[in-house]
Each structure stands twice: as structure tokens, then as C-alpha cells.
């Protein structure tokens, strides 16, 4: 096995190493500069390693056998186009959030950030369902550490709610695993895709429980309450990373489970239909709830719920077009939502509150940043040249092919209710501004590194428009039978 074939697991190793270094040096805060340098180096090294393995990727997927045990017995890490693209996205967004905010937080929180990153890399790469569960729990524990803020004891309450509901969700997943394991006798995804029988009752229960666990994790409409509370009580730059990436990784698992393990079109079972119905409801209801909010973080949280529900629709549809829509939506929403949460955190530093009415200061602060906000919002709405449009276009086509007309109706209604909160935010830019009042409160500067971060996010967003024609031939997943 050559070095290039093992390179794709390097990010996992690097992030774990920097997590350990940060945790160790949290007892010696005087050494913070050195740990920062080392962590930054490791972050860039993992990005380079990902790019390197993407360049050398042949049609055969890369396989890393953990401890030298071959596939059905041991744990296997799996690098195909699908997982490596998302590893690339994760590395880029990790660097951007690191430069934007996490360089400045305490060493203990930095170590939590790297443990979270480690778990996310693991969740994308692993082929073993139980190994996935372990990474899931590492990820959850790191999130609890990041969300809890000692200065705001109220966040303890919302973190506790997050913890209890997420543990129940993970337990559902584990229970589903027990059912699947009892009938198939394997936990390897590639193995399961040949063994699983979607007509068998035990397997059906297992699939249902796993999907139910993940419907809670990605916060579809009736099960969303914990998410808005947790996002609304913690700092915005933390939420940017969690909303931008963590929920997407759960979506990546759902896509892998439904498209790769269950094999695509054949699974049209009751569970997929259930996800479809819940997602359609969230697409319509969540944007409407978003337009009622006055706290910017809660508004963005509701908008996340509605945007993630589009991925849910794609998973429920289960066609090739829907698969592309889901992957493109993950890219587009991860970038857009991270940018919006970052901008919310900048305006919070300037004015001291997260009130959405404070966004009226944007046009006078920076014309560019106002442009970025409008760009992201219009993309969520689905205005033609922007990436959000292609997602809806693919979903429309897929729904027409499978004649799911209620999907078309709910996407249309969803777009209309997205208009509500998009115009609610844009309306703020035309509000009357009291600049003297604003100048007295703004003591912190808008750092140049933060500007670069947001600019690079918007460049990525524009890059997606150009990537659209190549996306269909590029994105593939193993084991998908359309």
C-alpha cells in the first residue's frame, strides 16, 4: 500500500493530535502561541492531504484497513469521490472558522473544536456502523463542551436539553443497529448492502429506528425544538460551525445509508416516504416560523431547518437527480449558513445584542458584507444563477419523474414562505439608521482576517455556480443502483 493510498486518513490523525496538544497545554496558557502555530499547521496539512488524495483518486475507492484487519471483520475507512469531496469541504470550512474565531477562544474550547473535527472526519470516512456510533458520541460530547458557556448559565439549560434529546436520538440509532445486526450479522456498510433485505420485518424495524434517530439529529420540523434553543443561547461563531457542518455530516450519513447501503431506487419503503412527508412539512413551516423571530441566531436556526429539509426530500425521493441535489445542497448550505452566522457574530460584537433589527447597520458598515448577506439569502430562496436554484431544479425534475406532485407543491410553498424571512432581513437594510448611537457602541474592530474569511466564503459560493455543469459527472457514490 503506497503512501498516497493512506493519505486520506491523515486529517483524522492530525486533528486528534492537535486536540491532544491543546488539551495538554490548557494547563500552561503561556504556551498558547506555540499550540496555535502547531494547530494551524495541522489544519493546513489536513487540507493538503485531502487535496493530494483527491488528485490521486482512481476510479477504485481508497480503502484503509484499521489495524490490518480486512473488510468484514475489521473497521475500514473508505475514501471514494463522495466522502473525499465532503472531507475537502470540511477541511476548508474548519480552516475558515479557525481563522475567524477559534484562534481566539480558550485552549480548552480549542481542544473541543479539534475533537469535534476528529469525530466529523471519522463519521464521513468510516464504513463500520458501530464505529460511526462511537464517532457520533465523541462529536456530541465535543458539541456540549462548545455550547456550554460559563459566562451565560442559561446556556447550561439549553445544552442539557440538547444533550438529553441527542442521547435519545443516538440510542434510537443504536437500537436500530441491534435489529440490523441480528438479521444480517454484519455492521460493515458494503457488506450490509448485499445482506440487507428491505422486505424482512426485522430489517424494516432497524431501518425505521436508524432513520428516526437521524430525523431527530437533523431536526426535521416536529422534532426541531432542541436545535433552536441551543443555537439561540450560545455564541454565534460556535453555532456557525455546528449549523454549517455538523448537521450536514448527519445528512451525509443519511445519504450514504439510503443511497449506498439500501441501494437507491429499490428502497421505496414506508420509512423513506415518512422522511419525505416530514421534510415537506418542515420546508413549508420552518421558514414561516423564521420570519416571526427577532433574534438573528434563532432566525438562522429555523432557516437551517428548512434548508436541511430539502436534503430530507432528496433522501426520500431516492433518484439519481435527488442524490445530486442533496450533495449540492450540502455544499451550498454549509457555505452560506456559515457566512451568515459569522456576520451575525460580527454585528453582535459591534452592538452587544443579537437582535435582527441591528442588521440595519450593515449598509453603512460595509457595502460588501451587505452584498454577501443578500447573495446567501437569495441563494436560499433559489434565484436562478445561484446554487440554491439548481438544488430546487433537480428536485423538481426528480419529483416530476416519480410523479410526486405534493413534493412540487411543498417546494413551491416553501419558496414562498422563504420569501417571508428573506424580505424580513432585507427590509432591515432600509430601516432608518441612527449612526451616532451606533458609533458610540462599536468599540471592537472588524478584523481584516474576518473580512478575508467572509470574502473567501462568498468566493466559494460563486465557485459553486461554475461547478454546476461538472457536478453531475463528478459526484458518485459506491453501491448506488439508480
Amino acid at each position: 500500500m503506497s503512501l498516497y493510498q493512506q493519505l486520506f486518513v491523515a486529517p483524522l490523525f492530525f486533528s486528534f493530535l492537535s486536540a491532544c496538544i491543546c488539551a495538554w497545554f490548557s494547563f500552561r496558557p503561556s504556551k498558547k502561541k506555540y499550540t496555535q502555530a502547531v494547530s494551524t499547521f495541522f489544519l493546513f496539512a489536513s487540507l493538503l492531504a485531502t487535496i493530494g488524495s483527491l488528485i490521486h483518486l482512481s476510479p477504485e475507492p481508497l480503502v484503509y484497513e484499521y489495524g490490518g484487519w480486512p473488510s468484514p471483520w475489521g473497521i475500514v475507512f473508505f475514501g471514494d469521490v463522495f466522502s473525499l469531496s465532503f472531507i475537502f469541504l470540511l477541511s476548508v470550512l474548519a480552516i475558515i472558522s479557525w481563522v475567524f474565531a477559534f484562534v481566539h477562544v480558550s485552549l480548552l474550547k480549542q481542544s473541543m473544536f479539534f475533537f469535534l473535527l476528529f469525530a466529523l472526519y471519522g463519521m464521513i470516512l468510516t464504513q463500520d456502523l458501530f464505529n460511526f456510533y462511537v464517532f457520533l458520541e465523541i462529536c456530541s460530547i465535543a458539541i456540549y463542551g462548545l455550547l456550554f458557556d460559563r459566562k451565560h448559565p442559561a446556556s447550561a439549560w439549553f445544552t442539557f436539553r440538547y444533550l438529553s434529546i441527542n442521547t435519545v436520538a443516538a440510542s434510537f440509532y443504536l437500537m436500530g443497529l441491534a435489529f440490523v445486526y441480528s438479521s444480517c450479522g454484519s455492521l460493515n456498510m458494503a457488506d450490509l448492502s448485499t445482506l440487507i433485505d428491505t422486505h424482512n420485518l426485522t430489517d424494516k424495524i432497524g431501518i425505521f429506528l436508524i432513520s428516526l434517530g437521524f430525523c431527530i439529529k437533523i431536526a426535521l420540523w416536529p422534532l426541531h425544538d432542541w436545535l433552536t434553543g441551543a443555537y439561540g443561547s450560545s455564541e454565534s461563531h460556535t453555532t456557525a460551525f455546528i449549523a454549517g457542518i455538523v448537521t450536514k455530516v448527519f445528512c451525509i450519513f443519511l445519504i450514504r445509508f439510503f443511497f449506498s447501503v439500501l441501494g437507491g431506487a429499490e428502497y421505496a419503503s414506508s420509512t423513506a416516504n415518512l422522511i419525505l412527508i416530514f421534510s415537506c412539512l418542515s420546508v413549508i413551516i420552518a421558514p414561516y416560523l423564521a420570519s416571526k423571530q427577532s433574534d438573528a441566531r434563532v432566525l438562522l436556526a429555523y432557516s437551517s431547518i428548512s434548508q436541511i429539509a430539502y436534503i430530507g426530500i432528496a433522501v426520500g425521493e431516492g433518484s439519481m437527480l435527488a442524490f445530486h441535489a442533496a450533495c449540492f445542497q450540502i455544499f451550498h448550505h454549509a457555505i452560506g449558513k456559515t457566512a451568515l452566522f459569522f456576520l451575525a457574530s460580527v454585528i453582535h460584537k459591534k452592538t452587544g445584542t443579537y437582535e435582527i433589527s441591528n442588521w440595519r447597520y450593515w449598509p453603512s458598515t460595509s457595502k460588501w458584507m451587505t452584498g454577501v448577506i443578500v447573495l446567501c439569502l437569495l441563494s436560499f430562496l433559489g434565484i436562478p444563477p445561484l446554487p440554491g436554484f439548481f438544488v430546487k431544479y433537480w428536485l423538481f425534475q426528480s419529483a416530476l419523474q416519480s410523479s410526486h406532485f405534493f413534493v412540487i407543491v411543498s417546494i413551491t410553498l416553501g419558496s414562498i414562505s422563504t420569501l417571508l424571512y428573506v424580505f424580513f432581513i432585507i427590509e432591515q437594510f432600509f430601516e432608518k439608521q441612527d449612526l451616532n448611537d451606533f458609533a458610540s457602541t462599536s468599540e471592537t474592530k472588524f478584523r481584516i482576517s474576518q473580512k478575508i474569511c467572509i470574502a473567501s466564503l462568498s468566493i466559494l459560493m460563486l465557485f459553486l455556480i461554475g461547478a454546476y455543469p461538472y457536478f453531475e459527472s463528478w459526484m458518485k457514490i459506491e453501491g448506488f443502483r439508480p
Partner: protein, 93 residues
Amino acid sequence: MNILQVGIIFLFISLAYRKGGLAPIENHETYIYTNPLPHALMLTAIVVSVATTGIALSLVTVIHKHFGSLDEDQILERYTSDTLQKNKDMEIE
């Protein structure tokens, strides 16, 4: 939460059982073993559940210190009154 987790652990371990099976230690006379894998998996699951319970309990102590209660209604009441107070303070400023 804990009961749910323990329930799942027992579910897994019951899956491993085979009639007349022995502990999976190398033994040349018997051929029926219980399946060792679920036991190994559940060892990990137990560690995970202990860790989550630990974090949950530490959060509960913080909540109790701040709100003086563990009742959901009372906590929410105090939370909303706190935020209202904060908003009033800001208006005065």
C-alpha cells in the same frame, strides 16, 4: 435516558446468546460459542453512556446553582424574567 441505554445494552447481549453456548475461549471439545462481538460493542457503549451521564449530571449541577430549581417550568419562568430584565436594563442605558 439511562434506562433506555441499559435496555439497549441488554438487547445486544441477548442477541449474542446461543443455546448451550459457552464463553468464547479456545476450547477444542465444544464448538458452540456465544457471539463475542456484541459484548465487545457493548463495552464501548457502556463507556459512552457513562461519559454522557457524567456531562449531563455536571450540567444539572450548574443549572441548579443558577436557577435554584430543576423543574422545567420554573427554569423557563426564571429564564424569561432574566431576559426581560436584561432588555429593560439595555433600554435604560
